[in-house]
Assembly symmetry: C2
Homo-oligomer: 699 residues x 2
């Protein structure tokens, strides 16, 4: 469960673990996360006898949503109803809950429009238009003296193009780097910042089986929720939305997934993969271990602390389980051998043909960038990435400070995350009314400062600067107790005040962020010059060579932008046994009885009461072969008529290696069946109006 | 809870984290873990008007027990009845339990001698005689050319002395290095290897409040159990045992603790403490984090897996909580400043007076040994310390292999843990009928091999040697499925067979241990030559200089040998509030009601039924100031008449820094009150015969 994609906020953007390697792939089987502007039409026709036209593609594209909590979704009514996963809105539920009113535990059910609840700092984007701007961007970097300068020039040009587009169309505009610099596409989105919560079931059924069953199958989860897009205070009127299927799914049937896979590393060079295997992934996993224990220790002190730590803890459990799986796959010499063979083939082609435009030096450059990264990645991650400061309050302090500094510059000179096109999102997060819990902030910050001291040693200048003569616990207490940034009004005031106002303010968290700022910016620049830019240039050439050498239809690695994946409903073989392609609703009650007394298998009261009303044989969850990854959470599963047959919510344990290499032998996407959603809405929750709205759109 | 001292078996003996630094201390207040051969008589008389004579000391010493699971205990009847903590016998309960009969959960209650259960591989030792052999040991190392050779010579001489002593007296004989080489004492023990379980309550009341309340106070734990020593198949007849107090304890009253503190680091040099703070402790903590998560993930799969992982998990939770506290204390600059001032004073004295026999070079030598340790401690810990192989089966393989090699040498030439005096314990552990669970072994080994690959990188020669072309999961599966060492009869056969037999055997676990052996031995030797020996020599001189400079009564750092600690029953102030010195039995039921639904606060059925029969005002747990540390678990708390008034089972959270520095401001020992034990035995469990046996010895 939880195929969300956490970019970890702008602060940690760029951490190697999350960097997408955008080299293209030569596809086989159901592999592929396809651009909507470049669907694999021939392949689809050949394999499935299906040839979607431009209208079909545009309809599905404009019915697909990207949610700022890190997931996907789909529009499923003319009145702006959006379906996604429960776990995609978990963060929202957490922010809306209080000790007395815990929506995560009790669920949320709006029985009328008036009861729909505004979601704090949530935005939803719908991809509206795609334009190829590769030539213009590449040209901008053309005459630069070194990779760093070229990268800066391209970035500036991207800011200009985005701004022009926004001014011309009024649409939110973002340039996406694809094929790691092979291409640049301008994506225009319709942006909705008034999003309301319509329905979310109890977490006990959304995440039935808990952490233990996460990434497993068979499953029995109603991991669904509904939101609504509003415009001018009214439900948004939509031209495109997905109809509901009346047929359901059958084994072997073609299904497609339209969603936003976050990041893959499929054509990384072998040296790059080694780096991930030996350095980046294991360190990240150790980070998750320590944070998971820190949060468990916080939560153990009582039910209210457990409640407020829950969001963070769920996210970490999910990442930890995913990362253990991914690393487990990478540690298999077999995975590496196949990658090595593939690389040697490409290198031989490159060496034999100068016209491909790459050379073996490009692999060397990537290797050197890894060596550089090993040397100062920890400074980069802890100071600029913010790993030393695991705190919402610190993140606010740093954002307020940077915003004040960056706003004074022309948009194209700013750090990319503070360009004009990004400012609405930055402001929205600072102006969020979501509560900040001081006790949780102290516990988290104490742990991350302890970690920081571990990595650099207590007597390192960075540590002395940050700790100011205190122990981690003392320093965390001083910072969290002393800052006013927990108060949304205080943040709003500071946002309006500008640099002079900030300079006068005696806020320890702002002071800490300010004292770290020069080192953080310096190390970021160094990292971008010696690692990111060098790598992008070299990958760009390798990627063009692959294009030229194979001449095949290829797809870029995932970038948290809209893709279409295709495949079939299909079980798999596990230790010689067949794992069937779907489960049934009735089994949930049986399992609850078998695992009685275990919190993870306790059905909510609504389900315990509804047993007799629910069809025991209705398909509940199913597996299929489309190529998905974190970020696809909440993606609709559709048939060739573009009707909803399911809702992606997980990949099985074998799918965790998809980060690096696609395999359809055992890897599967896990979905909630569309029929189970209707069954539960009708017969467990009695949400007849919602059912009518959804099915009303049925052909 | 769980002040046990895990030497982590012979395999990990010597890991820096657990090394005792034996420099002496100048004492104030109730500080001090005193040798029974050197009790602080003047101090006791001055402060408390109490002057125990030699008879008193010998009586208490011979009534105190050391338990091979890592804790302390006391003889409390003429028929060999031993009282200790529940958590000291937890490992034994785990080994005796099955899926159907879980003594940890249900408790164990022998209603007659015939029902008492033999404890697998458990031995109990009672300190019988102490002899100072410092001159003889030091003389042996006198003419050696370097610290490494001197250390080897002293070790050989120690083996000779131990052997002579055993032959002469028949008593188990061990030489203890005190004051880090300042003194060597020969300790003779009466050894009991037939130990039987008499009574253990349900873990739910022994560990009421669970991990969350561990190291906290107020507490409500019946953390007690009773064992019995047998000789020739009959209950052992004892001349010395502790009587039970009829008076209980009052605030401010003198109490004493006779037990086996495991290890302290109180007079480490500041450089050595820096090393612990920046390197050893944080790495150890990260190890605990990853292992805790690995075990949680194993346990989450179902109740039986939860049961079999429980012992390992409890131990890790306890160490993790203790280590977090200790490190938290060390990360306080205040702690360091005080240590630094103390060190500068001593250095000034040493620099001013050549007759003290030390020089500033000794501090430099210790610093160099730290630098050396940084360089290859990971090779040492992972290969020789066994951190790469978190597996009972691997440990058996390595022990069987080494035993076969070492037995062929004269005792004084062997690795210390294979000397004649140690062989009975080594054999006992290999011949243990305790079950080994393959699924648990695989999970643990997979995790530790993954960790090993993280630390060295997948392409390191050590890793290639160990992994043999497999991923961690594949390799763990192959090793655990392929070995016969899970079967106690197979181990017994191999023990008898010798080297030739072993050489013929095709057992993958034995083969792995054999392939690692040359590197492991080499790195051990290197570590001992460049780190341990250098450090011991330098500390020996610093320690002698401290003696000479202060001329005060001092005590050595803890060495898991018998010590007496003294203090008073006393609460403390926390954030301005008074924490009272004791809790009452009745509060346990109230708390269970307030925290209903939380597993950690669920009383066992026996207690739920007994509420009306139990005196609500009987003191349950209390705190006092004696200087204790891990290893003191199960120590009796006695009054000046040497009567039992309580049973140590924990230190509070403030006591965790005692590892490094004593403070009586807030640090407290936590005990079960003697009256609560009788109340529970009588009115919850109806164990009247046991109560009669205990109180029969009352004056």
């Amino acid at each position: 469960m939880k195929l969300v994609w956490k970019a970890f906020s702008a602060m940690t953007r760029g951490i190697p673990v999350l960097l997408a390697c955008l080299a293209p792939l030569i596809c086989s089987a159901d592999e592929g996360m396809w651009l909507f502007s470049r669907l694999p039409l021939d392949q689809l026709e050949k394999k499935y006898g299906f040839k979607p036209d431009g209208k079909w593609a545009r309809h599905v594209m404009r019915s697909s949503t990207r949610i700022s909590t890190g997931g996907s979704g789909s529009v499923v009514s003319a009145n702006g109803l959006v379906m996604t996963n429960h776990h995609v809105v978990e963060d929202i539920l957490q922010k809306l809950s209080t000790a007395e009113n815990n929506y995560l535990e009790k669920g949320f059910f709006a029985r009328s429009r008036g009861e729909e609840l505004k979601c704090p700092d949530t935005e939803i984007n719908i991809l509206w238009e795609i334009e190829d701007v590769t030539d213009r961007v590449k040209k901008a970097g053309g005459g630069a003296p070194d990779p760093g300068a070229a990268e800066q020039a391209r970035r500036a040009e991207r800011a200009v193009i985005e701004k022009e587009s926004k001014e011309k169309t009024g649409l939110h505009s973002e340039i996406v780097m694809l094929y790691r610099g092979g291409q640049y596409h301008l994506y225009r989105y319709k942006r909705y910042d008034d999003v309301r919560l319509v329905m979310a079931p109890e977490v006990a059924i959304a995440f039935f089986g808990g952490d233990g069953d996460n990434f497993e199958f068979p499953r029995y989860c109603l991991d669904v929720s509904f939101l609504r897009l509003y415009e001018d205070g009214k439900p948004a009127k939509m031209d495109d939305w997905l109809r509901w299927s009346v047929r359901g799914t059958r084994a072997g049937e073609l299904v497609m997934v339209s969603g936003h896979p976050g990041s893959t590393q499929r054509l990384n060079t072998v040296d790059h993969l080694r780096f991930l295997r030996d350095v980046a992934y294991p360190s990240y996993l150790e980070l998750l271990y320590r944070r998971e224990i820190a949060l468990q220790q916080f939560a153990i002190e009582g039910p209210e602390l457990k409640r407020i730590a829950r969001g963070d803890l769920f996210g970490i459990e999910n990442s930890r389980k995913a990362m253990r799986g991914t690393l487990g796959g990478l540690l298999s010499p077999a995975t590496f051998e196949s990658k090595l063979r593939q690389e040697r083939k490409l290198q031989a082609a490159v060496a034999a043909n100068a016209e491909l435009g790459a050379s073996l030096d490009d692999w060397e450059r990537i290797r050197h960038s890894m060596d550089a990264s090993r040397k100062f990645r920890e400074e980069y991650i802890f100071l600029e990435g913010g790993r030393a400061f695991w705190s919402t309050l610190y993140r606010s302090a740093r954002t307020i400070l940077r915003l004040a500094d960056e706003q004074g510059k022309p948009s194209s000179d700013r750090l990319p995350e503070y360009r004009d096109t990004r400012l609405p999102s930055v402001r929205m997060s600072l102006e969020s009314p979501a509560p900040v819990y001081p006790a949780l902030e102290k516990a988290k910050l104490t742990d991350s400062l302890t970690h920081f001291m571990k990595v650099f040693g207590a007597e390192h200048p960075y540590v002395k600067l940050v700790m100011a003569g205190h122990s981690p616990a003392e320093r965390a207490h001083e910072l969290v107790s002393g800052t006013s940034l927990g108060d949304v009004d205080a943040r709003k005031t500071l946002l309006g005040g500008g640099r002079e106002e900030l300079a006068k303010l005696a806020d320890p968290m702002i002071e800490l962020a300010r004292s770290v700022e020069p080192d953080a910016r310096a190390i970021r620049r160094k990292y971008e010059d010696l690692v990111t830019s060098v790598r992008n240039e070299a990958y760009g050439r390798i990627s063009s060579a692959t294009f030229a050498a194979t001449g095949t239809a290829v797809y870029p690695d995932a970038t948290f932008t809209l893709r279409l994946a295709t495949g079939v409903v299909k079980g798999w073989k596990e230790d010689g046994r067949d794992v069937p392609h779907h489960t049934k609703l009735g089994r949930a009650w049986e399992l609850a009885a078998e695992r009685e007394g275990e919190e993870a298998y306790t059905l909510p009261e609504s389900w315990r009461k509804a047993r007799k009303k629910v069809g025991a044989d209705v398909p509940f969850n199913f597996v299929s072969t489309p190529d998905i990854i974190g970020g696809n959470s909440g993606s609709p599963v559709i048939n060739r008529e573009a009707e909803v047959v399911g809702l992606i919510f997980d990949g099985n344990i074998h799918s965790l290696v998809l980060d690096v290499v696609y395999t359809e032998e055992q890897a599967r996407a896990v979905s909630v069946n569309a029929e189970a959603i209707i069954e539960a809405l009708s017969n467990v929750y009695g949400m007849d109006a919602l059912v009518k709205e959804i099915l009303g759109g049925r052909k």
